[in-house]
Amino acid sequence: MVRDVEDVIIKTIARIMVPIMQVYSLYVYVHGHISPGGGFQGGCIMAASFILLAVAFNLGEAKRRLKEKAIAVFCSLGVFIYAWTGVVPLFFGGNFLDYSKWSHILPGGEVMARYYGMAFIELGVQIAVMAVMVSIFLDLVTAGRHEEVLGKDDDGFYSR
């Protein structure tokens, strides 16, 4: 999985598939309010696109697109968005997670504010799930030893 695969068909198909998968994952996320889907599913599809890159090309290619540091930041960023969506209503006199208080910042009244609140939460979930899935894949495939598999020149988080 780490070695480069010399197969034109696989590489070409993967190159076409990856952007489509990523756009589709965003579609699944946005459409999660009114149909099956949402942040978790969208995040998984997004992660699958990076895993496809790693499988079709090599691990270095996937890590060049999504750096180890970026994964670490995204893991935290997702949860951070989630938590702040809940904390912001505290400043407007609501309880924790009371999305209706988002109406003080966003247009459209309380009902729409709850809608936005859900969208933010799902965005956080999407980002966190994407990053964690890729991270789990990288850890499994390299048995946790990224720098040994990829060499010293990689500026990943664990190789510092």
Binding site: V73, C75, S76, A83, G86, G94, N95, F96, Y99
Partner: protein
């Protein structure tokens, strides 16, 4: 006002900071510790403030997440019982966080300090959340947060810790499954997940088989998580092999939080009469706990490794708490609740001593304690206080909670358990006097320690303040809880009892 949001903030703040620390650690490792300590310090403030408000106002604090009405939304409740436990958890975790950095000596692990802090704060989030929540399903989620971070952080320990963590994971997952199944049964029968709502809905259904099966599942799930006797086997390995700073947090808190959940389930969600009369589990619990206490005490006596010995003592201490719960009367329950908090501080002080000695001498074997008092007088004294408290010598808090437990057991007529408790105390005395003798009266061979090396005024025992302050604090709390036991029982614990046991 911000004070009304404390029940939610005490869970949300460590959760948020746990992920901030992770990112900050990538760029500046130095900033992690102040951030973690500020967070935990705020948690201490939140919990103390909430307990103070509960005491002065005399009524529980209710907090509705998202503003939804209780039976539908999640509700956080702080009353006398969990307010008291919350203070214990947050104080212990603050000082354990202080000690965490000091305890990690391995260079490979030192580079992973941010990950340690992340897992540590997640652990605290879970423990505080379990205690503060008033919703049985939310409790399950937070139990899993605490457990999963525990598995990960234990696996970072010394040789063999990954295997121990894996075994803990298998056991813990089974426990969580059993708990979740129990919650499912209650939900099917009542349609509610709120503890207060359940306690009102359940009495009409007590004859139903569904409820009894659910109750048994709940008890067995909590039993595994709190390390009750037949299913305690994950405990000694995982807590003794975890990094020393981590066992200071995990060993005192996790099992005690399990005991708290046991009291909640048996006496808040279910009416006390259910577990004494309708479906009498208290006799069985008391019997199992008696065997467990004997077994654990004897095994503790057989250990040469001090940290392993302390782990077996935890199993025995859990048995004491179950004695109190199973007595199901006024004094027994006072003893159980008081012992939850007392045992947190006793175990924390002993585990931190074991951790400090392990780091200084490189072994947690009893030989490492030889002649320790000449090199480390403060550490030895903390060991002495912790040991006296476990044995139950009067000025320390261990005596007072055991006193209430004994009163409760006499009232309930459980003389077998009472005998076991006394025998176990005697075994503890033998155990600790052996350790104290090694520490104070045996002399290490000449030249083994360079006594008096770099004796600056602020480095007692050649330890940094980060290990010294927690150690001294835990020890002084052990004595303080003992001296103030009357006040605490009168003003807090009496009100924490269920209505049936008051008076």
């Amino acid at each position: 006002m911000i004070t009304q949001h404390f029940p939610a903030l005490i869970v949300v703040l460590p959760l948020m900071v746990s992920f901030i620390v992770f990112v900050v650690g990538i760029f500046r490792v130095r900033w992690c510790l102040p951030l973690v300590l500020t967070t935990l310090g705020l948690c201490v403030y939140f919990s103390v403030d909430m307990l103070y408000r509960v005491i002065t106002e005399g009524s529980p604090i209710h907090y509705r997440l998202g503003g939804w009405e209780p039976p539908w939304g999640i509700e956080y409740v702080v009353d006398y019982l969990n307010g008291f436990v919350l203070v214990g958890i947050s104080v212990i975790s603050f000082f354990a966080g202080m000690y965490l950095k000091e305890s990690i000596r391995d260079e490979a692990l030192k580079s992973k300090m941010p990950q340690f802090y992340t897992l540590f704060l997640l652990q605290v989030t879970g423990l505080l959340g379990i205690t503060v929540t008033g919703d049985v399903f939310n409790l399950y989620v937070l139990l899993e947060i605490a457990s999963f971070s525990a598995y990960a952080i234990i696996a970072m320990g010394s040789r063999g810790a990954d295997f121990a963590a894996f075994r803990y994971m298998i056991f813990g997952t089974m426990g969580a499954c059993a708990y979740l199944l129990g919650v499912g049964y209650l939900y099917i029968a009542t349609g509610s997940l709120n503890m207060g709502d359940l306690s009102m809905l359940l009495p009409k259904l007590y004859s139903s088989k569904t409820i009894i099966v659910g109750f048994v599942f709940l008890l067995s799930g909590i039993g595994i998580k709190m390390g009750m006797f037949p299913v305690h086997t994950w405990l000694p390995d995982s807590y003794s092999l975890a990094p020393p700073g981590v066992s200071v947090l995990l060993a005192p808190l996790f099992t005690k939080v399990g005991a708290y959940v046991l009291i909640r389930v048996m006496f808040t969600i279910f009416h006390p009469s259910f577990s004494t009369d309708i479906y009498p589990v208290t006799d069985t619990l008391s019997f199992i706990a008696s065997i467990g206490v004997l077994f654990a005490s004897v095994l503790a006596l057989a250990q040469r490794d001090v940290r392993r010995m302390l782990c077996y003592l935890i199993v025995a201490e859990m048995g004491y708490i179950v004695f109190g719960v199973a007595s199901a009367n006024h004094y027994g329950l006072i003893g159980a609740i008081f012992h939850i908090v007392n045992d947190m501080f006793m175990m924390a002080s002993l585990f931190i001593v074991a951790g400090v000695v392990f780091n200084e001498t490189g072994t947690s074997d009893m030989d490492g304690f030889k002649g320790l008092h000449r090199k480390m007088p403060v550490t030895s004294f903390v060991l002495l206080i912790g040991a006296f408290s476990i044995v139950g010598v009067p000025p320390t808090c261990g005596f007072f909670s055991k006193w209430y437990l004994v009163l409760g057991m006499i009232e309930a007529g459980r003389y077998f358990s009472l005998t076991v408790l006394l025998i176990s105390s005697l075994i503890n005395a033998v155990l600790f006097f052996r350790l104290i003798e090694i520490t104070y009266f045996e002399v290490k061979e000449e030249g083994a320690y360079k006594i008096g090396e770099k004796n600056t005024p602020f480095s007692f025992d050649n330890l940094s303040l980060y290990s010294l302050i927690p150690m001294v604090f835990y020890a002084s709390m052990v004595i303080l809880l003992g001296i103030l036991s009357g006040t605490i029982v009168e003003h807090i614990i009496i009100y924490a009892l269920p209505q049936a046991f008051k008076g």
